[in-house]
Amino acid sequence: MIADILNVAWKELREILTFGDTRGRSKFSLVILILIFGIIFPLQNGRDWVDSPISIMIWGWMPFIWVSGVVADLFAGERERHTLEALLATRLSDQAILFGKLLAALIYGFLLTWVILFVSLITVNIVYGRGGLLFYPSEMTVAAFVFSILVSGLSASIGVLVSLRAGSVRQAQQMMSVGMLVLFLPFMLIQFIPEKWLISIGNIVANMKPLQVAIGIAITLLIVETILIVIARRLFQRSKLILD
């Protein structure tokens, strides 16, 4: 079972990175991402890019966007390109196919986060290092590690669920965009919250320990992901997918 999951994930990653894509579009977009987040933003932000707690917010949520860009293709794309039925006719179990695809999306988000973290660290050190070696604070490194996995996992599980039900890649991408809007809605609504309430919320947050907040968010993400995966597992039925 583990070998099957890894096989599916390996193939998906090869397709995501499109080693065989003659047009090289996927590689080009990867380079753009690394250029923006690994070089341009660190250059603009200077040493703060490494030290500031704001960076944790960025590193925490960025994998969500990156993964959502590829996850819509996982099932909807296979269906659209008529490769899904051939895959379903193999000896692979339902779980192996589903978890293999989930794992591929998660690995993609995780690796991309760490490649960009590494490149941006080099950028900051070269330009703002002044002879010394700058490094991310240990808490931030741990947080980036945990949240890059959890947030990639959240995006992957939402994406798989959407991709399973969508008729086409475009439809899956549209549904993912709407999902992202819903997710970011609370941040957009902050401006409409009365100032008094904001101060109260600020006081509550200020009194909380950052570690507690991080653990609370991590547990919430884990629960949400588990629920989404259970739903996806229920929806993943060969006979239904064949007839879709």
Binding site: W10, K11, R14, E15, T22, E85, A86, S239
Partner: protein
């Protein structure tokens, strides 16, 4: 033991019976042609046999495994090329085959050896590292057939393997299929609506229409079951008396004259020489004799037409 055995297999989609009480036996080692017009239930039958769909009624066994309870065992031992080739166009030919080899847990050296073994005879080995998105449809279809054989299955299902190919590509694929069937010694369950294809490839055929089995046997048996052996004779001295004398021969079912030709329906085509002898004795000077060759297409049209009239 049969490779496939179904017993009153039935599957409906709403009011439509896609497969209707299908009882079928496919012996091991045969190239079995499953013939039928579009929408006759061929693809649904393959999906049922692979355990991708559940039957509403009836049972089926593939390689001795029940399609409902042991579908995983069946899919482990079979290969399938379904409606679409299902290849990953962004991957190379070798990449596609390698992935399927990995799915069946083939070791790396075995995968490499097998890829060479399968692609070389088709002249595709040199192009194994090209992304197949650039390949022609015929080449992709060949690769898809080869993919079904990658893990050395006992049985392969090919759903309309030559559909959409031009005549040259179809002929090439047919040739490769025949060679692969012999080389691999695999049972092939092939659906098609191309009857000349079935005639050339298959040693057993079944005809299905509207989900129901109309006939089953070797192409020769089907021809014998559904058609009357017929001879056409042209010559000098075919008088009314000669025709009346021939009519009395028990070998002759029916005789008529059409455009100067004598059209004779026989009970047994293998004894046609007796009729020729009789004509020679009656001083008929024979110019030309030919036996009507009934092909599978005639059989198929006859069966479908008969079923249609039965419905009416």
């Amino acid at each position: 033991m049969n490779a496939i055995q179904t017993n009153h297999l039935t599957r409906s989609f709403g009011d439509l019976k896609a497969v209707d009480r299908l009882t079928l036996e496919v012996p091991r080692g045969t190239v079995f042609g499953f013939l039928g017009p579009n929408g006759s239930g061929k693809t649904t039958t393959i999906r049922l046999l692979l355990g991708l769909l559940d039957a509403d009624q009836g049972t089926a066994e593939v390689l001795g495994f029940n399609t409902k309870t042991q579908a995983d065992e069946i899919r482990t031992r079979c290969g399938a090329l379904l409606e679409h080739h299902g290849l990953y166009e962004r991957l190379s030919a070798a990449g596609n085959l390698d992935y399927y080899g990995r799915i069946w847990h083939m070791p790396k050296t075995d995968r490499e050896k097998r890829i060479r073994e399968l692609l070389e005879p088709l002249s595709l080995y040199e192009r194994r590292d090209e992304p197949i998105g650039r390949w022609s449809r015929g080449m992709k279809q060949k690769l898809a057939v080869v993919r079904t054989l990658m893990h050395r299955p006992e049985l392969i299902f090919l759903d309309e393997p030559t559909a959409g190919l031009d005549p040259v590509a179809s002929a090439a694929l047919r040739e490769d299929l025949t060679r692969l069937a012999v080389q691999e010694g695999v049972t092939i369950f092939l659906t098609t609506h191309n009857l000349s294809e079935a005639e050339r490839l298959c040693n057993q055929v079944a005809v299905i229409n509207r989900g129901q089995l109309l006939a089953h046997g070797s192409p020769a048996e089907l021809r014998a079951q559904t058609s009357t052996p017929r001879m056409y004779i042209t010559g000098q001295g075919i008088t009314q008396q000669v025709i009346e004398d021939i009519q009395k021969n028990t070998l002759v079912k029916k005789i008529q004259q059409q455009n100067g030709k004598l059209v004779v329906d026989l009970n047994d085509l293998s004894r046609s020489h007796e009729l020729i002898k009789q004509l020679v004795h009656a001083n008929v000077s024979i110019d030309e004799v030919y036996k009507e060759k009934v092909d599978l297409e005639d059989v198929f049209l006859h069966l479908v037409d008969e079923e249609g009239r039965g419905e009416g």
